[in-house]
């Protein structure tokens, strides 16, 4: 349970806000980091910590694009193919990534390692094509860099990827 595992971080987080409801997006990031996606249980847990109705947390999960309402792969590759990136080859990059991973956009590889998505602007238009993988940016990509990135992620997964996630690192600042 999040409340027990991250007791200090959650206490410190709630102390920041005049109204604790403000912590809901933070806690949803933490819940998704823990459970992989916004499962019903994850949303109920967040609601309980903040004394909110679970349906409120569910509505937020639907509204904000960083929350996944369905299970996703261990690594979620989100390629920006907005206009500014598309002018620099983002659409072709998506096609290439889709072909190499052998999954359609929004699909997950059979081994559960990779999900491929397209997203709106990530604020890195000058370094297109680019993507974020579990909230880490990979920029100025081409086919070779993509291959290397995938190989590296596969190797890390095989070793049990013990790197702290982006969300864990952010919560370490809160404590």
């Amino acid at each position: 349970m999040l409340r027990e595992k991250y007791a200090d971080e959650i206490d410190a987080l709630l102390a920041r806000f005049p109204q604790k409801k403000s912590a809901v997006l933070h806690l949803m990031h933490l819940a998704q980091n823990e459970y992989g996606y916004m499962s019903d249980e994850a949303m109920k847990e967040v609601a309980e910590i903040l004394d909110l109705d679970p349906t409120h947390v569910m509505s937020l999960a639907g509204f904000y694009s960083l929350y996944y309402e369905e299970p996703v792969g261990k690594y979620v590759l989100e390629v920006c193919n907005d206009l500014a990136c598309a002018l620099r080859g983002a659409d072709k990059f998506v096609e290439m990534a889709s072909r190499k991973l052998d999954i359609p956009v929004d699909g997950t590889t059979n081994d559960g390692l990779f999900t491929l998505k397209t997203v709106m602007c990530l604020g890195a238009c000058d370094r297109a094509p680019m993507l974020q993988c579990n909230l880490k940016f990979y920029e100025n990509l081409d086919e070779t860099k993509f291959d290397n990135m995938i190989a590296d992620l596969r190797a890390r997964a095989a070793e049990g990827d013990a790197d702290p996630s982006v969300v864990e690192r952010i919560f370490s600042y809160i404590k």
Binding site: Y64, A84, L87, D126, I170
Partner: protein
Amino acid sequence: MEYVLLRHREIPNLKKLDVYREHGGYEGLKKALSMTQAEVIDLIKASNLRGRGGAGFGTGIKWSFIPKNAPDTYVLINTDESETGTFKDRELIENNPHQVIEGALIAAYAIGSRLVFNYMRGEFMDAAYAFEEALQECRAAGIIGQNILGSDYSVDFYTHYGAGAYICGEETALIESLAGNLGQPWSKPPFPAIEGLYSKPTVVNNTETLANVPMIMVNGPDWFKAMGTPQSPGPKIVCISGHVEKPGNYEVTMGMTYRELLAMAGGMRGGKKFKALLPSGGSGPIVVEDALDAPLTYEGLTPFDSVMGSASLIFMDEDTDMVWATLKVIHFFRHESCGKCTPCREGTFWLERVVERVYYGRGTEADIKLLESITSGMKGKCLCALGEFATSPIVSSIKHFLPEYKAKVAAGMNGKVTRAAAAAVR
């Protein structure tokens, strides 16, 4: 050039507190703390610093709207940078976080606020590390917390993370999101200066706007007004992307022409000819060749029915299919419409559907009229600016590139749109 904002490009490790202080950091805050709140507001007013998020509202005037001696007030930094083509605040936060923090602390002192939040989009995590580390340095050095820098003023300062919603860059939506609600705007009034976060007086300032504040405090309003033009003084970060040789952020003083900016970015890629420019990400109406000699100022593009906005320049070359580009932009707005007001929710949905069928060769001449009719049903009728923005790529692309729409209609199903291209847009 002498940088005012992107100073990290000349000063290595500027994101570290000791380096920032060696280069005059937090002197502006010290000076502010030695003045009265009203004096600080008057000084920023006198500089004519205007909001860099796009709207261009006077920063000092905005601060002056906060009721005097209100018990709880808040300063919110808007780092929810999500507009297609905009990537300036990210560079600032990642490399020069203290300048933003100092600007926000001066704003907080000026309005008597005890709590500052930086609302940062949930995707800017490299920037987040830099910002969180800068905040930690400030707490340890007594720049944030009780009696900052030995004064009798105390203030807390935290980062807040969004979760992927362009609309949260709209100030009332940002406030709702920070309060833990859906990020949907409200119809003003009430204005945030009177009823903002938790219904208390609140100032929301853009990241780049606040980064200007410390040096105005130190060097004075005349120093600031000596840069740029009388109505648009000061430096501006311009984000240049699209078909140019050297995309990136460029810090300039306002008043330069768009043609000069294009040259700065190395000109059009591969020696291609310029075709069109989106001057403010997806939001500013498209302009063509004749507008390139206009100055980059808040009013410079008015004769061309467009705006400077956040100065996010997306250049497109002669090979660009403008119906395709329009479809990309309207797809963005349809996706990011928050769904609260009907004209925007329904309008963006239908605009995308109709542009899509024209692009894929299933449109008719009547569809072009229909697009104009939908936009007139949206303009001036939406809750916030997003709905208004969504109409601008449609109206302006039809204005400048009507023959391209007509050609798509005429080509019909024989148009050269492949299934793969269709999948890419979706």
